[in-house]
C-alpha cells in the first residue's frame, strides 16, 4: 500500500487520534475514583503535617483520632458545623461556596485549629495549612507545598526546616495579620516574621501574600476569644 498518499495519511491520522483519545478517556475514567481517594488521603496527610504529625503510618485513622471537627467560620467569627463531604480544594471552596474551613483538632489533650491557605508562587500554585494553638494566635505548626517551584530554591518551602521556623510565631497584631515571611536575614520583628528562602524570593513573597490574604478571611475568628 502507498503510505504516502493523501487519503492514507488523513485516514491514518484520524484513526490514530480516535484510538489515543479513547485510550486516554478510558484510563482517566477508570482510574478517577482511585485518584480521588489518593488526593483526599494526601490532603489529610498535609493537615496532619501542619500539626507536626509527619510520619503517620495510617493516615486515615490518625486523622480521625486527631481532627475532631470540620467547621466553617461565619461572618462574626463563630464556628458553624459543616455537614458536607470532605473538601480537598479550599480555594475553590471559598471562592465558589464562600466557605472558609477550620479544623478543630486535639493533640495531646490540647485544642488546636488548622486553617487552610492557598496562593501563587513563581511557577504555579502554592498551598498549605497553618495550625494554631487554642489562643488562636500562636502558630503550633505549618505545612506548605507547591505545584512546580524550582527545586533547591522556591521548592524549599516544602522543607521541614522552613516550616518549623513558623513555630511559636504570633499571627495577629491590632486586628491585622502580621505573620509574615521577609527577605532572608531581614527579620525585624522576630515574634511575627520568619526568614524567607535566599534565591527563592518570589516564592517566599508568595507565601507571605498567601498567609496574609487567607488568614485575613479569619480575622473575626482569630480575634474572638470565646
Amino acid at each position: 500500500m502507498d503510505t504516502n498518499s493523501n487519503s492514507y495519511t488523513i485516514v491514518y491520522a484520524s484513526v490514530l487520534v480516535v484510538i489515543v483519545a479513547f485510550l486516554l478517556a478510558f484510563v482517566n475514567s477508570s482510574l478517577r475514583d482511585l485518584q480521588g481517594k489518593n488526593v483526599e488521603l494526601d490532603t489529610k496527610k498535609q493537615i496532619l503535617s501542619a500539626l507536626n504529625i509527619r510520619m503517620a503510618a495510617d493516615v486515615e485513622s490518625e486523622f480521625a483520632k486527631v481532627v475532631k471537627e470540620d467547621r466553617i467560620v461565619s461572618e462574626d467569627g463563630s464556628l458553624i458545623p459543616y455537614e458536607g463531604k470532605f473538601v480537598t480544594g479550599y480555594e475553590k471552596e471559598f471562592k465558589e461556596n464562600g466557605r472558609a474551613h477550620v479544623f478543630v483538632c486535639e493533640v495531646d489533650g490540647q485544642k488546636k485549629y488548622v486553617i487552610p491557605v492557598y496562593g501563587a508562587g513563581l511557577w504555579g500554585a502554592i498551598w498549605g495549612y497553618v495550625a494554631l494553638n487554642e489562643d488562636r494566635n500562636t502558630v503550633y505548626g505549618t505545612y506548605f507545598s507547591h505545584a512546580s517551584e524550582t527545586p533547591g530554591l522556591g521548592a524549599e518551602i516544602a522543607g521541614e526546616h522552613f516550616q518549623n521556623e513558623f513555630k511559636g510565631k504570633q499571627v495577629m497584631d491590632g486586628g491585622n495579620v502580621e505573620l509574615s515571611v521577609v527577605k532572608f536575614g531581614k527579620v525585624e520583628k522576630p515574634e511575627f516574621q520568619v526568614d524567607g528562602i535566599s534565591g527563592g524570593t518570589i516564592t517566599s513573597v508568595g507565601v507571605d501574600v498567601m498567609l496574609k490574604n487567607c488568614l485575613a478571611h479569619y480575622t473575626n475568628f482569630l480575634t474572638s476569644k470565646d
Binding site: T3, N4, Y8, T9, Y12, A13, L16, V17, V20, L23, L24, V27, N28, L31, L34, Q35, N38, V39, L41, D42, W123, A147, S148, T150, P151, G152, L153, S198, G199
Partner: protein, 212 residues
C-alpha cells in the same frame, strides 16, 4: 535466546551509556538536565521516568513504523509519546501518589525531552521492537547517569546535602571556613558541569574528537 543478546544488541544497549551518551556526545536533553539537577532525588526520578518512557515509546513506534505515513511521522511520534506520558502519569496518580506528586513538574518535561524524539526518529523508525527497547533503555540510563552525576555535585556543593540528608552542614565545617556555594543551585552551573563532563570524556577518548 542467543539472538536476543547478540553482540550488536549489547552494543545498542551499552553504547549510549558511555561512548554514545545522549547528553555528552549526542548533546540531547540538555534542557531538562539543567532543570532537574539541583537536587539528587528529582534527578533520579526523572532519569528513571525517561528510561521507561523512552523504552515504551521506542517499542510502540517500532511496531507501527512500517505503517506511519512519512509526512506526518513526527506528529505521530509526538502523539504516541504524549499519550504514553499521560497514561503513565494517570497510573502514578492512582497507584503511587507520592511519586506522582514529586514528578508533577517533570511529567511535562518528559514529553518535550529531545532524547525521546531523537531516539524515535533515529532508531525506532528503522529497527525492530526488541532492539528499539534496548536502545530506549540504554539511552534512558545514559541520560540518567549524567543527571545523577550533575545532581550529586550540585546538591553536595550547593546545599551541603545528598538526597536531603545533611552531609556538610555542621558547625565544625563552617568554622573551618567552608560555605555552601549558592551558585551551584543556579541553572548555569548545570551547564558548566555538563561541559566539564564532556571535556573529561573527550580528553580521555581521542576518537570522540573531531579532526579539523
Amino acid at each position: 535466546m542467543g539472538k536476543l543478546f547478540s553482540a550488536k544488541n549489547k552494543e545498542v544497549f551499552s553504547a549510549p551509556i558511555s561512548m554514545n551518551n545522549p547528553v555528552t556526545v549526542q548533546v540531547l536533553g540538555i534542557c531538562s538536565a539543567l532543570a532537574v539537577t539541583s537536587k539528587l532525588e528529582p534527578a533520579i526520578v526523572m532519569g528513571l521516568s525517561v528510561t521507561i518512557i523512552t523504552a515504551f515509546s521506542n517499542v510502540v513506534i517500532s511496531l507501527i513504523r512500517k505503517t506511519i505515513p512519512n509526512r506526518i511521522r513526527i506528529i505521530v511520534q509526538l502523539v504516541v509519546v504524549a499519550a504514553l506520558v499521560t497514561i503513565v502519569s494517570e497510573f502514578l496518580k492512582a497507584f503511587a501518589y507520592d511519586v506522582s506528586v514529586q514528578l508533577s513538574v517533570y511529567v511535562g518535561l518528559i514529553i518535550t525531552n529531545c532524547i525521546l524524539m531523537g531516539r524515535l526518529e533515529a532508531f525506532a523508525m528503522a529497527n525492530g521492537p526488541w532492539e528499539s527497547c534496548l536502545d530506549g533503555i540504554g539511552n534512558g540510563l545514559g541520560y540518567a547517569k549524567i543527571l545523577v552525576i550533575v545532581a550529586f555535585i550540585r546538591e553536595l556543593l550547593g546545599s551541603g546535602t545528598l538526597l536531603g540528608y545533611n552531609i556538610l552542614n555542621y558547625d565544625a565545617v563552617k568554622e573551618a571556613g567552608y560555605v555552601n556555594n549558592g551558585l551551584m543551585l543556579m541553572p548555569p552551573m548545570a551547564l558548566i558541569i555538563v561541559a566539564c563532563i564532556i571535556w573529561y570524556q573527550r580528553a580521555k577518548h581521542k576518537e570522540l574528537q573531531e579532526n579539523d
